[in-house]
Each structure stands twice: as C-alpha cells, then as structure tokens.
C-alpha cells in the first residue's frame, strides 16, 4: 500500500527545533500553561488573581503570568507556573478550559522582525487592536509581544505548516529582495 505520509515532511522535534538566519531567531516555546476563559472576564480576574494586564494584537505582555484578549468575552490565560484553578463552569459567570496541549507557541526575535511580520499579515503592528486573534501566515493565530519578542500561539495541528512557512519566509528575508 502507498505510504501517503511520505507526502508530508516529518514534524520537527519541538524540544530542539530552531530557525536561525541573519536577523531572525525562531524557536518553539514549551512548558507554558494555557487556559481559555470565556464569559464574565471581570469575575474571572477577581476569582483567579490574574493581574489586570490583558494584551491585544502585537501588545506587550510581561512577566510569567499574563492574559491575551482573543474575543470580546474571551481571554487566553498564560503562565509559566501551574494555574491553580479548576477547569469547568463557574457560578460567577465564566468557564475555564485547559488548552495547554492544544496550542503550540513560537517565539520570534531579531532585527528583521518587522519584515517577518509584514510577510505574515497586512495588519499594522504599530496600531493597537483589542484582540490578539488574527490571520497570520494564512491561519488563525494569537500574536503579541512578550518581553520584546514576538509570540505566536497556533492550533497544534497547524504548527508543522507554520514552521514550514517560517522556514521559507525567514530564508527569503535573509536573502533579501531579488533584483
């Protein structure tokens, strides 16, 4: 029988994968705890103890705990330490869903970051937008800055595609425009 798996490249090992070209460094970020919170976000902030920092598209997140706004009534809570709150529906009016395994995170830095962003989206990275959910490299992603680097969260099933796209894009950026 034909092995159709040959048609696709082997998925990278996210523990060691890296892209390094002139002006760009891209690496996967592992170990983040991610919770999707929907509903009354004020009640969530009060109950969870997450601080009030909520970032939108290309917004600056800092520290080991922060929230990303992804819709009018939804945030993605991100932490490097376990989020000590149960999942499920809360009577205060919000629901918490564990999604750490569902979203792959990448981090991009370097002098060519603006050129990288320009290839991925038509959105102006200097214009604030309430939601970090946007089309990036043709797929839906959460995009913001964390301590000066660009962070991208995508559905894990699309991570292989985005990695391939980033390899091509970064290669083209390092070569520069053709004459």
């Amino acid at each position: 029988m034909r092995d159709l798996a040959e048609k696709w490249p082997i998925a990278p090992d996210w523990r060691s994968a890296a892209i390094e070209v002139t002006g760009l460094k891209i690496r996967p970020v592992s170990g983040l705890h991610q919770r999707l919170v929907s509903g009354d976000l004020g009640a969530w902030a009060e109950a969870s103890g997450f601080d009030g920092t909520v970032v939108g598209a290309f917004g600056p997140a800092e520290g080991i705990r922060y929230s990303i706004r992804v819709a009018r009534d939804r945030v993605l809570a991100v932490s490097t330490t376990p989020i000590g709150m149960a999942t499920g529906w809360f009577a205060q009016g919000f629901a918490v869903t564990e999604i750490s395994a569902g979203l792959q995170v990448f981090e991009v830095e370097g002098a060519a970051l603006d050129a990288f962003i320009a290839r991925a989206t038509t959105l102006d990275p200097n214009q604030p937008s309430a939601s970090a959910a946007l089309s990036f490299a043709g797929i839906s992603a959460f995009v913001y800055r964390h301590e000066g680097k660009l962070r991208i969260h995508v559905d894990r099933g699309l991570a292989g595609y985005l990695w391939t796209w980033m390899e091509k894009a970064s290669g083209n950026i390092s070569v520069g425009p053709s004459s």
Binding site: V70, A71, R72, T122, S129, L134
Partner: protein
C-alpha cells in the same frame, strides 16, 4: 485588499471576515408561517445597488456585527455589533 472594521478588534483584512446575509432577514417563527414568508426568508435577497446593511462575522474573534457599506463604491459606512456598540 480592503480593511473592514470589526466593532471589537478594529480594522482588519477583509479575508478575516465572512458574509452572513442581509441584516434584518429574521427567521420566521411559529407553526402558521405562510409559504411565501418562508420563500422570502430562504430565497429572496435585497441585492441593492448602493447602500446595504449586512450581517458579517469576524472569524478570528467570533464577533457578529452589522456593517453598512456601499456595494457600488465598496466604501464602509459603519459597523456595529449586534448588541448595539459601534466600531471605534
């Protein structure tokens, strides 16, 4: 490429949006709805030349909203979420 104003996110690429039909085309309710009312709801579209009120959804954030735009010039006149808020 055109930018559409999501009432929550602000200006975004048109490819992030999906058309949802004429605004105000409410689904008939009840057991005694006449057949011409169902026909009107299911098959007849306004298709105006000029100003149009349409339902759109921003696929990335899930916001459903009403957008007023000119079908001739493509100029966006306004956008408002279905709860009544307006785009900044």
């Amino acid at each position: 490429m055109q930018l559409f104003p999501c009432p929550f996110c602000g200006p975004r690429d048109e490819t992030e949006f999906h058309y949802g039909g004429d605004a105000g085309n409410a689904r008939p309710d009840g057991a005694d709805v006449p057949v011409d009312r169902w026909t009107n709801y299911l098959y007849l579209r306004s298709n105006p030349k000029g100003a149009a009120r349409e339902v759109w959804v921003h696929m990335n954030c899930g916001e459903f909203f009403v957008m007023e735009r000119d079908t001739l010039t493509h100029k966006v006149l306004s956008s408002a979420d279905l709860g009544g808020g307006h785009a900044a």
